[in-house]
Symmetry: D2
Subunit: 400 residues, 4 copies
Amino acid sequence: MANIAIGKLDFPKVSEQPVEIVERKGTGHPDTICDALGEELSIALSKLYREECGAIMHHNVDKALLIGGIADPKFGGGSMISPIEIYLTGRAINEINGKRLPVEELAIETAHKWLKENIPNLDVSKHVIIHPKLKPGSKDLVELFERFQLKGEVPLANDTSFGVGHAPFDDIETIVYEVERALNSKEFKKEHPYLGEDIKVMGVRNRDKIRITIAAAFVDRYVKDVDDYLNKKEVISNYAYSVAQNLTDRHVDIFLNTADDPENESVYITVTGTSAEAGDDGQIGRGNRVNGLITPYRPMSLEAAAGKNPVSHIGKIYNTAATDMAERIVSEIEEVEEVYVYLVSQIGKPITEPQVCDIKLRVNGEIKGLEEKVRKIAQEEIDNLPNTWQKFLERKFRLY
Amino acid sequence: MANIAIGKLDFPKVSEQPVEIVERKGTGHPDTICDALGEELSIALSKLYREECGAIMHHNVDKALLIGGIADPKFGGGSMISPIEIYLTGRAINEINGKRLPVEELAIETAHKWLKENIPNLDVSKHVIIHPKLKPGSKDLVELFERFQLKGEVPLANDTSFGVGHAPFDDIETIVYEVERALNSKEFKKEHPYLGEDIKVMGVRNRDKIRITIAAAFVDRYVKDVDDYLNKKEVISNYAYSVAQNLTDRHVDIFLNTADDPENESVYITVTGTSAEAGDDGQIGRGNRVNGLITPYRPMSLEAAAGKNPVSHIGKIYNTAATDMAERIVSEIEEVEEVYVYLVSQIGKPITEPQVCDIKLRVNGEIKGLEEKVRKIAQEEIDNLPNTWQKFLERKFRLY
Amino acid sequence: MANIAIGKLDFPKVSEQPVEIVERKGTGHPDTICDALGEELSIALSKLYREECGAIMHHNVDKALLIGGIADPKFGGGSMISPIEIYLTGRAINEINGKRLPVEELAIETAHKWLKENIPNLDVSKHVIIHPKLKPGSKDLVELFERFQLKGEVPLANDTSFGVGHAPFDDIETIVYEVERALNSKEFKKEHPYLGEDIKVMGVRNRDKIRITIAAAFVDRYVKDVDDYLNKKEVISNYAYSVAQNLTDRHVDIFLNTADDPENESVYITVTGTSAEAGDDGQIGRGNRVNGLITPYRPMSLEAAAGKNPVSHIGKIYNTAATDMAERIVSEIEEVEEVYVYLVSQIGKPITEPQVCDIKLRVNGEIKGLEEKVRKIAQEEIDNLPNTWQKFLERKFRLY
Amino acid sequence: MANIAIGKLDFPKVSEQPVEIVERKGTGHPDTICDALGEELSIALSKLYREECGAIMHHNVDKALLIGGIADPKFGGGSMISPIEIYLTGRAINEINGKRLPVEELAIETAHKWLKENIPNLDVSKHVIIHPKLKPGSKDLVELFERFQLKGEVPLANDTSFGVGHAPFDDIETIVYEVERALNSKEFKKEHPYLGEDIKVMGVRNRDKIRITIAAAFVDRYVKDVDDYLNKKEVISNYAYSVAQNLTDRHVDIFLNTADDPENESVYITVTGTSAEAGDDGQIGRGNRVNGLITPYRPMSLEAAAGKNPVSHIGKIYNTAATDMAERIVSEIEEVEEVYVYLVSQIGKPITEPQVCDIKLRVNGEIKGLEEKVRKIAQEEIDNLPNTWQKFLERKFRLY
């Protein structure tokens, strides 16, 4: 039995406190691009390893660096001047039983594939250079992986680390998340191809007023001139408002691309739909947490989950597990209004034996009667940790 | 007058909650190295710009990537096999009035200097390759900087962003911070040169039991054999215990290098004193927050302060200001036991006009009578924001 | 009037000396790839500059480095493991009248285009990483270029340098050149897609015996097994023999892929048709001279023509001009059997005023009566040097 | 017995022909730097391999790329702005019996050492970035090397290739070589520290007039102003003249830094003594041949010897052997005035069994009587080829 502590959330709801701040960096933000490429590479490596030897072998490709390019955006269509460079870094076994594996090729291919699908105005053949910088890593770890994966042993925690999660999202969290998702949905883009993917949403609530500040890159070839830009900006702004207003009873204001200076024709247009084309750099782990948000009024882990190996990396598994557990508790136990989960590992111990699983509840009534239910869910989730890797491979978590 | 909200911390102290987690990545940790090199480069650039034109010009060198090398540590002294590579990335004006400035040379020189002073067993001439990858950035920003710096205008916030801070440190926070500082102090190192700089301290409190888990790299040429290692490990462990025990009434256990397997001669020795030599990569912004700690039970910002320009970068200025403000309030107003500060900027507005400055107090008695004092300190700190850059140049903040 | 010296070739013909050695590195050889990419980039830049400001601006992109990849070729089709990396280096103006030009994008695009057309089994999207490393170079040179190109002045020699050429090819030179051209022709490849582009031909004549040693990469997916390989090898060998035998009365032997060891299934198959995929690196200027051959028994310049600017770079212009002049003299003056031309520049003087133009003739009869005709052709060619750039842009020279 | 052909040089001496061109790129020329670093790395690797396993293992580090930096030279002392980057590329076994060897560290260390000793005004810690890009290469070759080195078998030629050499140097060859050597001698530098190492000497003889054009970088911190520069330039020019005049009876003119424009203060000063600091790139194999010169009127090989493995690489061994053989024949057989040697290998055959060794003599009298002596020397040199590697390790050849 895991060491599960169940307690009370004994402070007012964040959503009832006077101020709240929530942020989400959308698909095309340089940090999100790095997260995505790291995670996609981890998935691709995991699949390659499973094909080659039936097991996911050691890898941690959780460091990436995107160096912004130079672009010359213009109404009607400008051009890239100097390409974006992306370093994909970390450890990945590149030889199994004497056979050299194409980990670098895979890194390039996977990155191109994700970029093509997700940043369609970026021409991967010439606007971006992928530098795969992968080293094989320690041989000891290979043996460990074989034990876990091939013989079915429970993986051991690779570190003393922790994960945190909370549920449910409150109104401003939901708004920030859903506004970005709506603006970056395939359906919306089909109708509004002039909207790029680099969409950053920052929500600040001041008592009952919610200000949603959006920085969204437009794609120059779909915008004729400043007037056209301003018209399209209003369309986007209105749509964001409609999405947001549906999710709260509070007053919402939308501020879109506030740094624009239309009189000087200085507005936020890009060639590719992402600010990575000119000036903005990115890294893994500098953006959204595993629940898709940045929430300074909530407990957060600094762990970067993207790119880490899904079998034994505590920072990846415990954060997603804590979030999952919180969501299950809230959805399955009616009386629970809100829950925070903290999971702390012990290095060298099975991942199913955390130092502590600290669960804090906000309930309608007494905690007492619910403890067993909560504990049951928690234990199930913990017992299930050795299978979490499958969910990562199926992209079941938000993760970034 | 700034929009200052003063409220109550209406939940039990973190130190009285059943579980608490605190972490600190020491000087030689790959993430900390990246933070340090980014920040040192920002300081060096700021000084260069001031010499060249009397003002700090635009720069943000807040992205760095350290790719671990390959090493062959051995008792008595091993060797590096393949060097560490460090990419220093970002924007930095490299031309003023037609004169090309040596920003790349400065990056290399500054990095070498810091590494020599702080990781003395690393031979910078051959164990590390510095890749300066700096681009000049936008010309618009240059004009802005001239206005702020040469004409004395208050800088405008470059982003909608926020900073958070709290004070004072509780016992486990103090322990985690001070144990690393003690082990990495020049005095201690003089007596114990076998201890490297890559020291990660993780504290987990479970009610009244504090477990301090330390991962500390030893330097191979000062360690004769396994027995010698084990003896020296005990010395370190005992010293860490003595430091920690003095800072709390709770029960403390020290766990040092728990992954060691001395029977197989597998212990944590390194050639250089940092795990960056073999296997561990690093980035800016993935380690300690501006107060020197990672504290998932406290509000945290994900903003990386290191390397950002100290004049108008909100993510840097507001985080340090919030921490400073919190520390002043606690130290100057006796009745305040604890304080959390949140500062939120408005993009395009003067940095002295935050959207909100949210201050939450835990007081001995009523808040009412203290509000004016608190507001006064807050306003002073806010008024003083345009001068914060000087403190960055003088390394007055912990920052990482 | 240029300083034209006309003399006699007073030694026996190379083709009548007992030994002769001639070599050609074919299209897919790593050195030839580098030459081609450098030259294509120079052409693309020249066109870009002409579009942007009506003149070819300063550039010299005559340094390139190809770092071979890692491949796993297999009968029926293997795979690339780690990509080829190509650094394209040199100087190229990247800003005209304040407008930043896309020189890096152009480098990538041009390289991809050439590779796709010439090494069709290489998938440029993932088997190769292009690193454009271009620096703007000196501003003084920009002004010079404007004078030459916009005002029609005769360019000044950028260096004290020289060019050499000879005509006609003797039998073994013709064989070495034509065998590679035949094997790499589109028509031949259509019928024989299993033959790659990396074809190196070395001819050694020992009195009247000519040994043609060919190293030719096969493409694995078109070859079933060793037997199939050996059959196809015979086809190629026979074809090379038929091409060669038609070009000489001497005895010819063909040796194809002599390092093969078919019993151990060790034969020269590749995934991509070039040895660059695994093991072989390349550089500009290490392969064929501007006449397409390496001829140690003939005078040679070490100058790399590929990638140099076509307006004023002596090393490029004089070598092609000397070859051209030699070919014209031989073809237009019946009595001339053979000619060697040496052109030496004076740095800072117009390119139409060489220090010396040294012409050595082998004639049927007396030189005397031919001198005027030779001088006329030479003077015409020299007068025409300022227009040579057009021929480079139209790819009128062999060049590599 | 080797296939040795002995014939007659049946054309007038080059030194008696009307025109002759000879060039030498001095120590600090970017191409020479590349040659030197490649060769020094080969020597260092050879020594490392011998220490580790008693034999020189496979390596070919004969590709290098130097990308020029940016500098701001000034009378009295300027500064570097952006560093020189040097890629050292090729193949080198990096693991022997499971032990990883520090080939990258060695590359950095060796490069720094050579640069410090030979370009003293270059601060290797910040003016230059060394990128070691070495790949392990083929395993088959390792076995071959073990056979040659450990079991004493004669190495097999790795390629069909050739080497050429001639002796003795004529007057202009001697002048070009000795002028550079004199200007770059330690003794001369001690007295004249203002002279840099990047000294290119081009000699053009027009009948009995020899023009020596020298481009020589001056070191800015040792030069006060233009007048001082002009004075020092005269000193150098006079010294070069005195060296040259002693070596010929012909008329000699010295032209030093002819592109200088002193009225506009545009003269050839540098911070570091090499043009690599700003603008000039370099590669291996683009400069001097193994005899230290570039001689278009003599037979030349395009083979780059620098960096190649000294055990079995024909391009390296045969070129130096041909030069050596030519020098011995001339010095040991009084009647021989001049000799050209061509050596052609057979791929896969022992290096002591060339396809042909073609020796052409210019003698005072009849060849007949000398043939035996010549053949004896040639055979001795050929028999001795398997030991040539020792001379490379002892730097017995000029090589560049």
